[in-house]
Amino acid sequence: MLGRLRRLYGPRGWGAIAAFAVAAFVVVPALRLLVPEHSPLHLSDYYVLLLGKIMCYAMVALALDFVWGYAGILSLGHGLFFALGGYSMGMYLMREIGTEGQYRSHLPDFMVFLDWKEFPWYWAGSEYFWAAVLKVLLVPGLLAFVFGWFAFRSRIKGVYFSIITQALTFAFMLLFFRNETGFGGNNGFTDFKRILGFPLAHPGTKVALFAATALFLLLALIACRYLVTSKFGRVLAAIRDAESRMMFSGYNTRDYKLFAWTFSAVLCGIAGALYVPQVGIINPSEMSPANSIEIAIWVAVGGRGTLVGPLIGAVLVNGAKSWLTVVAPEFWLYFLGALFVLVTLFLPNGIVGALQGRRERAGRAPVLREKEAT
């Protein structure tokens, strides 16, 4: 097992991972907490938050790459799983506010506002952190499992599957927009005070959340790499390239796809749970179809089916977004739109794919060649 883990990456790969770990666990905390504020090397809360946010996005991109790049399933609903993880964590954070809300009630402000007297049944246990962790894993996982079970059973694939996932996230967005649903309606959850007793406004808590995000991102990357290099990963790729042939060869393709799909959704849920305490808000707009499609472009920019590529894509696109929306907000949509068009036309395998392709051109054909009917 350990030997297999060691072989996941070559020396350069492990070197890069170690460098990332040092940066995330040592350099960033030191620059934030130990370097005095007036120093030019000091890292402000803004950048810690930005980096933490982008790492969460990178994790979602990784999750989408796992199903899109290796199983050929393009989900346009991954924002839903991300938001569900976020809402699961958000419920716990709302309970942590205690009676410090605007109305000094043990109920969250929005429930007081609706004139509710007690928590609805599905809020039971939301005051325990372990319950929140369980929900972060189970809610997106179960939804994905049930949805996937039905979808893969009736062999929905290609654009049909994409559109249905989009409808799914759209339906959930409408549901969560309603006040009566019990998740804060339009405004969602916000005004969090603390997590596990630590105040969220404290720089130490922020850095700890940042480090936790980095840790989970690394674990997710290694887990994905482990899966795609295993026999499971090879079967998955084979299903992507020729599903009928795999079925004739006696593989139960539905179960393979279902596992990949559910695993990916759980990863998204974890990313959402890490995202919410850092940015301090979760609302239904995270479930909007547009958000989910944006995830796909992060993956496409970096390179599908490379695992590392989506991380790079998420960093580049979101970095550009946070810069452009400040400098020239009216150009952001042009930029994003052009990115969609140009990447699919000229960089079909993304940045990483293009680099690999150059290296491998001498030998065999590029790893990735999507083959889909209809």
Binding site: F150, V159, S162, I164, L168, L175, G337, F340, L345, A373
Partner: protein, 536 residues
């Protein structure tokens, strides 16, 4: 003094002169309007109304518009700088009098509304009387009863008389005499207004002590019978109204989804920018409308005749340009086409924002589209919606004829069924592709014209329809005209049918969940292509 203000002053003076009382109003009642107590004010309003003197109308109107002032025991109407005595119509110098405004609250406003309606009952014009009677039938104060009775005796028009009888009955239902109440309930049974139903149902309720609101059993029985007859009379127009609103939503969905279904069936690609073709059509309508308003205002009602072909061409040309420059390079890569077209839609949205601004623009209906067809009771079919249903039917008919009767239509069907075989038979598939893509986009442009007539036109217009149009395509199956029609109308009807029970949002969620489940059973949609074409 600026000229405009002078004119306004003259006009006001002239109006007042017209309204100047030829004979004395009840001076005590007018003075009472300035009372501190709202109840006293309401009583005064009631008295003025009960007198049935048209001279009270300008005073009540002034009170309604906060133009009535009190100064040293006199009641003044103050408009701008000019003040006149409400009773005599003489101009008053306000500088010396320091008038104080007479404040009205909502209760007083209601009293004024019904008083004005009562006074208009004596007007010679039938339209005025009819409107006043409608207003009174919606609820009138008990003080109005003698006035209504008097008007009822004089009234020769059957429709107005009926409304007046109902107005009187609505008041008499509170009478202490059970016989009068029974008679009132019987009269109300002739009504077809939903408010009357509520009023009658109120009689059958029990109050907090468990007693009936209406103590007399005979009156209750009469009320039950009245409710039954009213409901029976309302049933048909209401059912038609509900069916129609579903049909109208379905027509909109159909116009939005028809082009999508054709291109999806033909090329197997999902055009995420399809919603933006709707938007382009709607904005083209806006531009045509603006040009007409500025240069040919006399022909404004005909602007749609230009807007329809213009929108078709604009959206169609954009579609052809997209197909030629971008989409044709992506055939065989459907998932990436989906992302690319999404990117195109973002660019188009932002472009429209840059050109027209992020705010919604106003598209006016031509005058022949305003109003509606009254179906009896409270059901009205708005003309613009009727026009859209007819328009959608026309478009579908033309598309059907195109597919069935033209050579290009034949080619489209052939390529949809089996692209490779069509290619082998010498059909120029690339040309079929771009022409069809242009056609599909043009149809969406037509949809945009329709949408501009019933809703807001803004850069996000297309986004709000895109998920729904996909659902129509998924439900109807690809490349199937009939499937698309039935899916669109069906979704419209189901949405509107669920709305009263579940609310608009939950209804929509139910529909989405239903579609997701439906696809499990029939992955190819309602009307699957049979034979070899089914497994592409």
């Amino acid at each position: 003094m600026p000229k405009s203000r002078l004119i306004a002053l003259l006009l006001a003076g002239w109006l007042l002169a017209l309204a100047a009382p030829a004979h004395a109003l009840d001076a005590a009642a007018v003075a009472q309007l300035a009372a501190e107590d709202s109840a006293a004010k309401i009583e005064a309003v009631g008295k003025l109304a009960a007198d049935g003197d048209a001279a009270a109308i300008p005073i009540l109107r002034a009170l309604q518009n906060d133009e009535l002032y009190a100064a040293e025991g006199r009641i003044l109407i103050v408009r701008g700088d000019a003040a006149t005595d409400a009773l005599t119509g003489e101009p008053v110098d306000t500088a010396a009098a320091a008038p104080e405004p007479i404040v009205v609250n909502n209760r007083i406003r209601n009293a004024i509304d019904s008083a004005l309606a009562g006074l208009r009952l004596v007007a010679p014009e039938r339209e005025l009387r009819l409107a006043a009677a409608r207003e009174l039938a919606g609820g009138a104060g008990a003080a109005m009863l003698p006035l209504i009775r008097a008007a009822l005796e004089r009234e020769s028009d059957a429709e107005i008389a009926d409304l007046l009888a109902q107005a009187a009955a609505t008041i008499e239902i509170g009478s202490p005499d059970p016989e009068v109440r029974r008679g009132a309930v019987r009269v109300l049974g002739r009504s077809d207004r939903p408010q009357t139903l509520e009023l009658l149902a109120g009689l059958l309720r029990r109050n907090a002590d468990g007693d009936f609101v209406e103590p007399d059993a005979a009156v209750r029985a009469e009320a039950e019978a009245a409710i039954a007859t009213i409901e029976a009379r309302l049933f048909v127009p209401r059912a038609i109204g509900a069916l129609f609103s579903g049909l109208s939503l379905g027509s909109v969905l159909l116009l939005a989804a028809l082009g999508l279904a054709i291109t999806f069936g033909l090329m197997g690609i999902i055009n995420m920018a399809h919603g933006e073709m709707l938007m382009i059509g709607a904005y083209t309508t806006f531009v045509v409308q603006t040009i007409f308003r500025r240069y040919f205002p006399e022909a404004f009602d005909a602007y749609l005749l230009v807007a329809v072909p213009a929108a078709f061409l604009a959206a169609g040309l954009v579609g052809v340009a997209l197909e030629r420059t971008i989409i044709r390079h992506l055939y065989g890569r459907p998932l990436e086409t989906l992302l690319t077209t999404w990117g195109i839609s973002l660019i188009l949205i932002q472009a429209v924002r840059t050109v027209f601004g992020a705010q919604n623009v106003e598209v006016a209906n031509p005058s022949w589209m305003s109003g509606g067809f009254h179906l009896g009771a409270d059901v009205v079919l708005p003309s613009n919606r009727v026009a859209i249903v007819l328009f959608a039917a026309l478009v579908v008919l033309l598309v059907g004829l195109f597919l069935a009767r033209t050579r290009l239509g034949l080619c489209v069907r052939a390529v949809t069924q089996n692209r490779a075989m069509a290619d082998c038979m010498g059909i120029p598939t690339p040309r079929v592709d771009w022409m069809t893509f242009g056609l599909g986009s043009g149809i969406a442009g037509l949809g945009g014209v329709a949408l501009s007539q019933i809703g807001n036109v803004g850069p996000d217009l297309g986004q709000s329809y895109i998920v729904d149009s996909f659902m129509v395509v998924v439900l109807g199956g690809v490349g199937q005209l009939w499937g698309t029609i039935i899916a669109a109308i069906g979704l419209g009807e189901v949405n509107k049918f669920l709305e009263p029970y579940a609310g608009a949002v939950l209804g929509k969620i139910f529909v989405l969940v239903f579609i997701i489940l439906f696809i499990q059973k029939r992955p190819q949609g309602l009307f699957a292509l049979k034979g070899r074409a089914a497994e592409a």
